[in-house]
């Protein structure tokens, strides 16, 4: 069987998730042994329209990007959204909390009208085209990336946790941030990252998006138990989980 052809594309993002692919270090050699990477602008000069698996990094923020991702969808058998910008819109969606013209004016001043600065509401990839698999995180977790790619090569549906970050946070023997009356998004955010943020004694910022069935109804009452408010929680949700 010939090796599957993989192409990696980036849209509006920091390209940190692509960097995590590089950061699998020695195993990059195994990766390029298992698949043919036919396009990856950040790392190589080849370009190709022939691929089986398209990996999309970044959010869709401009009309021309919408068009581009649609073309990629028609060419790819499997389309994977890579990282928070692609899976949930990520920090880019914070922009949606403001009036678009006002945002442009804020950043570009009197030049805001220049045509190449056009921008639309930020969307995650699945809000524009069908996405087969999502690799969550800002940035993605190298171990999870490797496992998901190997599972896909094997024809296995990759396991993606549908339980909250608290599971992994406890596994790492952290003291819950709430015990210090601090907010943490862990109880409603999808695990898989290994809880690096609470482990660094900070809150979960929510970069992997909500679990399928978060108990948002509980939030208000639980916040009150810690002298926090729902508004405090919403303030924190905005970072990665704006609408």
């Amino acid at each position: 069987m010939s090796k599957p052809r993989v192409a990696i594309f980036d849209f509006a993002c920091c390209e940190g998730c692509q960097l995590q692919i590089v950061n699998i270090e020695e195993e990059i050699i195994d990766l390029v042994g298992a698949v043919d990477v036919v396009e990856w602008r950040e790392a190589m000069s080849e370009q190709s329209h022939e691929y089986d698996i398209a990996i999309i990094e970044g959010s869709i923020t401009r009309p021309e990007d919408e068009h581009r991702v649609q073309i990629i969808r028609t060419r790819a058998k499997i389309l994977i959204a890579l990282g928070a910008c692609a899976t949930i819109g990520g920090v880019n969606k914070m922009k949606n909390n403001f009036d678009l013209n006002e945002v442009k004016r804020c950043v570009y001043g009197q030049d805001a009208g220049m045509p190449h600065l056009a921008t639309t509401t930020t969307r995650a990839v699945h809000e524009v085209v069908d996405v087969d698999y999502k690799i969550h995180g800002c940035p993605i977790e190298g171990e999870e990336f490797k496992r998901i790619i190997r599972d896909l090569l094997l024809g296995k549906t990759p396991f993606v946790p549908n339980y909250p970050v608290c599971v992994e946070c406890k596994e790492r023997e952290n003291v819950c941030r709430y015990e210090y009356n601090e907010i943490c998004l862990g109880p409603i955010i999808r695990a898989g990252c290994g809880a690096p943020c609470p482990t660094a004694q900070w809150r979960c910022f929510g970069c992997r998006g909500l679990v399928d069935n978060p108990n948002v109804d509980a939030a208000q009452e639980v916040m009150e138990q810690y002298n926090l408010t729902l508004d405090d929680l919403k303030q924190k949700m905005v970072l990665f989980n704006s609408k």
């Binding site: 094997l154 024809g155 296995k156 549906t157």
Partner: protein, 279 residues
């Protein structure tokens, strides 16, 4: 790794390699496999039990044994529903699978001797029941009347068609089939499996009734049986639950005090009737 005191106990998680000797699609989603354990070994099992089927790298799943211990080899029917089952569907004759078991409780083959038997099967529920039915047919003289009710969602999904045709030919058993949705090529009963129950109403109270089907089916069948006063202790059900180990450790299949993989999957209904979550 230390070997000094790895006990002589067998490793309960270790699959034995088996080879596919026959394979055939029974319908669009169900694959029939005949397996032989490598090294000429025979698995010692009884009707109702299941095995954990394994593909290295993909995973494991509990699968009921569909053959009868009166025959050689091991027969399974696998519905393509997910990762492992999809991968198994791709296998060909000569390919290998891992098998561990048999596990779980068995149908009451001894207790049923001399009794009239009624089998109520919904869809893939025929698969484990077939083991019991074939066992009975191979010991035909030891049992009373045999009635098999089979309900299938649609005409195309019917399982074991040739075998059913052979059973229908037999004088020493009664087979009644129904499909949920009418079909041009089908002249038999139409309707869910409970619609067959009134037809054998008078036989039911004295029979040993064995039920297997999708979770929703049990409630309705059991209600119908209650109406004709079938005693709960002569009714047997075959339950499905999530299972990871098959040997009563992992906790997934627990319903109340029972581990389905150990006390089940075949239960006497009277043991479950007052157990919440069971049916």
């Amino acid at each position: 790794m230390c070997e000094c005191c790895v006990s002589n106990e067998k490793d309960i998680y270790l699959p034995q390699p088996a080879t596919i000797t026959k394979r055939r699609m029974l319908n669009g989603t169900e694959l029939f496999l005949h397996l032989e354990l490598d090294g000429g070994k025979e698995l010692e099992y009884m009707p109702g039990q299941f095995v954990e089927v394994s593909l290295a790298g993909i995973g494991e799943a509990p699968i009921s044994i569909s053959s009868s211990p009166t025959q050689k080899g091991l027969e399974l029917v696998i519905r393509n529903v997910g990762t492992l089952t999809r991968a198994i569907h791709k296998l060909q004759v000569g390919d290998k699978l891992g098998v561990r078991g048999p596990y779980g409780s068995t149908y009451p083959v001894e207790q049923a001797k001399g009794k009239d038997l009624v089998f109520i099967c919904g869809g893939i529920g025929l698969v484990p029941q077939r083991s019991f039915i074939r066992y009975v047919l191979d010991h035909r003289d030891s049992y009373g009347k045999v009635t098999v009710l089979i309900g299938t969602k649609c005409f195309e999904m019917r399982l074991f068609r040739e075998e059913l045709a052979m059973w229908e030919e037999r004088r020493d058993m009664r087979v009644m089939e129904t499909i949920d949705e009418a079909h041009d090529c089908w002249s038999g009963n139409v309707g869910v499996v409970t619609t067959l129950i009134p037809k054998i109403e008078k036989d039911l109270p004295g029979s040993l009734v064995s039920i297997c089907g999708p979770p929703v089916m049990y409630k309705f069948v059991l209600m119908a049986l209650a109406e004709v006063d079938v005693p709960q202790d002569s009714t047997f059900v075959n339950l499905e639950r999530k299972m990871k180990c098959g040997v009563g450790k992992c906790g997934h299949c627990q319903i109340n005090q029972y581990y389905v993989c150990q006390e089940g999957p075949v239960f006497r209904y009277s043991d479950l009737a007052h157990v919440p979550e069971a049916i």
